[in-house]
Symmetry: C5
Subunit: 114 residues, 5 copies
C-alpha cells in the first residue's frame, strides 16, 4: 500500500453509475519523512478519512475488495488512516546485521578451536 496525505476532494456529476455516492479524495504520496513526492492519486474513501489525514492507499483490483467498492470501476482506495509508524535506519540495521554475523563467526571460531 502507498503512504499518502489527503489534500483535497473531487466532484463529478457525469460519471459511471457504479461510483454514485462514493467520496473521491486527492491523495499526495509521501516519502518516509512525510515529504511530498511527485505522484498523487484520486482514491475512493472507505474509512471516513478527511483532508490532512495520513493514509494508506491500495491500488488495482485490491481497491475493489471493500464493501463500498466491490465491482466498481475504481482502482485506488483509502483503506486505512495511519496513526503512526516507526522505522529504523538501514545503516543501523546493516551495522546490527554485521555485528550479528561477526559474533556468529566468533562463536563458530570458538567452537572450532575447542
Amino acid at each position: 500500500m502507498i503512504l499518502g496525505r489527503v489534500i483535497g476532494t473531487v466532484w463529478a456529476t457525469q460519471k459511471d453509475p457504479g461510483i454514485e455516492n462514493l467520496k473521491l479524495l486527492i491523495v499526495r504520496y509521501l516519502d518516509l519523512d512525510k515529504q511530498p513526492l511527485k505522484g498523487f492519486d484520486v482514491a475512493v474513501d472507505t474509512v471516513q478519512a478527511g483532508v490532512g489525514d495520513l493514509v494508506l492507499v491500495a491500488k488495482g483490483s485490491s481497491a475493489r475488495q471493500t464493501e463500498q467498492t466491490q465491482g466498481k470501476p475504481v482502482d485506488a482506495v483509502v483503506m486505512a488512516v495511519v496513526e503512526g509508524y516507526h522505522t529504523e535506519q538501514l545503516a543501523t540495521i546493516d551495522r546490527s546485521n554485521a555485528a550479528r554475523e561477526r559474533s556468529a563467526a566468533a562463536c563458530l571460531k570458538g567452537l572450532q578451536e575447542e
Copy 2:
C-alpha cells in the same frame, strides 16, 4: 484514478471484436495545477466525455467494471468527468497539524500541572 484532459480520439478498423463500438479517447495526464505531464493513455469512454474535458481514468482490471467494458481487452476507462476539485497546500496542512499538536501538548501540560 488518474486526472487527465481528453485531447483527442483514435480510430481503428482492424481490432479485437470486443472493442467494436467503443469510443477511444486520448487522455493526457495532468498535475494538480492542470499542467500536462509526460504520460498519456488511450482510454475507452463510458461517460460521454469529449475533447477538452477534465476526466478521471481507471486502469487495469478496474477498467472492465463498467457495463460497456466488461470482459473486453481494455485496460483504461474514462469513468467520470471532473467538475471541479479543491486542494489544500501540504504546507498549510502541516502548520495546522503542528498547531494542533502544540495545543494538545499545552493542554496535557496544563492537566499535569493541576
Copy 3:
C-alpha cells in the same frame, strides 16, 4: 491502452504450453508525435498486426480478455491496429475553455444587470 509501433518479432521453443501458436511481437512505445519512447514490450498479436504497424497494447489481466489469450500467462496484447488519431493542443483547449468561461461570466453579468 498504450500507443506503439510493431518493430519486430520474438521466437521461443522452450515455453509455457499456454503460449504455443501465439505470435509474439516487439512493440516500441511512442509519444503522440510518433517518436519512440524508451519503453517497449513483447505482446501477443490478436489482430494480424505486422512490423511497421501503429498499434494499441492492453496490459495486465486485460491482455487475457481475447479469444486467443484467455487463461494464458501473457500480460500484453496487441488488440487494435491504429488507422489514425487526432489531437488538439492543450494550449488551444485551455484558451477555448477560458473563452467559454469569460462568455459565461459576461452572460451572467448581463443577466444580473437586467
Copy 4:
C-alpha cells in the same frame, strides 16, 4: 512481457506454503541491444530456465496462469526462453511508411488526373 536475462537464484525457507518447491530466479531486464536496464525482478521459473538464459517475464495476475503458479502469491513468472528476435529500425520503418504514402498519393494524383 518483459525481456530479461536470468542472472541468479534466490533461496528462502521461511515462506508462504504456496511457493514451496518453486524455483525463484533473479531476472535483470534488458534493452533491445541486450544491455542491462536498472530494473530486475524475482520471478518463478516454469520453463526450466537457467542462469544466462534470455527470457520473457509475465507480470501481475498473468503470472498465475501456469500450472505451477495457479492460486499462488507470485507476481512474476518466466514463461519462455527466448531463442532469438528480430527488429527493424524505427527510422527504416518510417522511411518505408513515408515512401508508401508518397506512392499512394502519386497513385491517387494519377487517378484524379485521368
Copy 5:
C-alpha cells in the same frame, strides 16, 4: 517479486474491517547490492518477518493469494524471507555466451571442413 528490507511497522485503528489483525510492514526496496532504492511499500506480513529481514514482496492481486490476505483490500504482501541469493555478473555471462558461440562456430566450421 521485489527484493526489500523490512525497516519498520505501521499502525492504524481507523481502517477497513478486512485488515484487522494484519501486521503492516514498511519495506524499503533494494538493488542487488542490497543498497536502498527510492521506492518503499507498506506490505502485509504473512511469514513472521521482522525489522531487518531481507524479504520478497508480491504485488497486486497476487498479494491476495495467501490465507491471511484473501479477499482483502491489500496490494502488497511479504511472502518470503530471503536467506540468500547468488548472482553472476552479466559481463561474465556475456563472455561465456560469446565463448560458447565461438566454440559452436568453430565446431561447425570443423564439420564443414571435414
